[in-house]
């Protein structure tokens, strides 16, 4: 806390709002989770830039309740970079052949407004795991 202002009760609530990103990451499940697949194939195809674009959008829009995670290779190496978007209580959506611009569009449409972007999506739902 840079300002040496004395706090009031309302300020406590404000700080809690401001730090929601912190509590989301360390505690709750968040509203949504975006997993950028970063296996060796993904990184080679440019997943790092996709990740950076995503994080940039998160910061620009001051979104506090979305978790950004990484995971290993999802299996479909020729469609990398890939990302999976999961909303709480809904089946996950896999997006393929991503670029930083496509990631930004997905963020604006799907993450912020809740509207799937069918052109970039591969499938909805998870793989069956035996």
């Amino acid at each position: 806390m840079a300002e040496k202002k004395k706090l009031r009760i309302q300020d406590l609530a404000k700080i809690r709002e401001k730090t929601r990103a912190l509590t989301t990451i360390r505690g709750s499940e968040g509203r949504a989770k975006v997993t950028v697949h970063m296996g060796t194939c993904g990184i080679a195809a440019g997943a790092r830039e996709v990740m950076e674009a995503l994080l940039d959008e998160v910061r620009k829009n001051k979104v506090q309740d979305v978790i950004v995670a990484t995971s290993g290779c999802a299996g479909l190496c020729n469609r990398e970079p890939m990302a999976t978007v999961e909303f709480k209580g809904q089946p996950p959506v896999k997006y393929v052949d991503l670029t930083p611009q496509k990631m930004r569009k997905i963020f604006a449409e799907h993450i912020l407004c809740g509207r799937l972007v069918p052109d970039y999506a591969l499938a909805i739902g998870s793989e069956t795991v035996y």
């Binding site: 806390m1 040496k4 706090l7 406590l12 809690r16 730090t19 912190l22 990740m51 995670a69 990484t70």
Partner: protein, 605 residues
Amino acid sequence: MKQYRAHLLVCAGTGCVSCGAFKIKEALEKEIRKRKLQDEILVIATGCNGFCERGPILMVHPDGVFYQQLKVSDIPFLVEEHLIKGRPVKKLMYIPPEEKEPIPKMKDIEFFKHQRLIVLRNRGRIDPEKAEEYIAFDGYEAMGKALTEMKSEKIISEITASGLRGRGGAGFPTGKKWAAGRAAKGSPKYLICNGDEGDPGAFMDRSVLEADPHAILEGMVIGAKAVGAEKGFIYIRHEYPLALKRVEIAIRQARENGLLGEDILGTGFNFDLEIVQGAGAFVSGEETALIASVEGRIGMPRQRPPYPANKGLWGKPTVINNVETWATVPNIILRGAKWFSALGTKTSKGTKIFSLVGKINNTGLVEVPMGISLRDIVFGIGGGIPGGHEFKAVQIGGPSGGCIPAKLLDLPIDYESLTEAGAMMGSGGMIVMDDKTCMVDIAKYFLNFLRDESCGKCVSCREGTQRMWEIVKKITEGKGTEKDLEVLEEVARTCKDASLCGLGQTAANPVLTTLQYFRHEYEAHILDKRCPAGVCQALIRYVVVAEKCTGCQSCKNACPTQAIKGTLKDVHLIDQTKCIKCGACQEACRFEAIEAQREEAIQII
């Protein structure tokens, strides 16, 4: 506030720090900068996670993955695999004993699964040196409520209704103490936080002070409003430098932000805190001795009445509570007395922190609801006894407590049931003992501690602990007689009856409980001149087990008195007349072929 996609929480309780946690943190920060991830990944140091057996510990969020026993050399691989490629590193995860598969998430690990964190809710979760993080997780919300919405009497009635009892050991109802403090005549009134945790094996208060110092500050402000105090002291023992540092930082930050000092949160309420350091005496944890210490006098207890709530610090009404008690208060005010009293048993509400140490697989700090059985703690959370040994006893309550044997393992943990069994809840230290522990030796250890820490004021304790120690020592040396047991019991009873303060009154507990539940061990030492557990040096003999001996000569070379005879490749023999029972041979042997003879009949090879 800067946004990161992952937070790395490095456990920095004193236990992990001594295993190199700060070096791990540095290595993480270095590697992250090297990989240009510093704007994406945050590294912070938190307080103790509780699973001290497995330090250094790292938590990766949002994944919730638990890494343990880290070395600096592990870090580059970890960053590459988990943080960049998104593949959590299996070989650094926790694998339960006897199993092969690692458990990645903290919430699935047996040790953590059964705990119920209230006082320790912020452990391993926040940076204790940032007030902002405490506020993020509902910090100071209860204080705000208490200062603006609740009258002092309401606060006291809420605490009373919750059933909270002092967590320092005696278990006195906190609400009652606060009510007495409020009703007492005199001003100014003081609050004291007792952080002079002296029990060997206890580190609950240290963990709370290191992991979540703001919780205590918040609790004390609430208490100040309830009792009508304007000044408080946090007494921390000098041997806790990290706790002292973190509480200092917390107080400074709280003052800077108007959460402590004058006009708190703009409500017009004033309350300030000061830290007082202890100076190395266990007895200063006793409330009247602590008060004397704060006043600058010698730390000797005095008789009560008058109780500190009426006449305490400088003769003024003083409410003293333990660290854990103060840290519980904000939770009760925030979530209500009903919520708190729904946990626990009829007479012991809420949760209690226990330090699980000794001969147990999962050493560490656990917070569990009252009423849980000892068996669940030792074998469930604790993971049982290592090395295939058998459970023998658990010492509860530190040197003032007693030993509970195996037959009472299903005892529920609460103040009354433990006292009935002869032990005591105490601070919550739990020292687990296996079949290789000699109970007479344990009594000797605790008596030695107590005679050293006795303040020396009253004859019954000062001389009593000294004489009890002398007798028990004699017994462990094989020189005890039956008469000694009689005298021991008499001194123990008088020490318990006539002593001035809690130290003396409970000093006899280790002796009385071991005599009650393990009398046969004392008798074996006295009548058979034998130590069944194979611990007391004078009463064991080292012999070579013929079937296992390979004749490698390691023991012969290790023996300082040349008491071992044998040629290469032949079974060796220990000459008992020369053996000084130092145990060097047993340590040197790589085939476990040297045994300290105990129950079995002596074999002459």
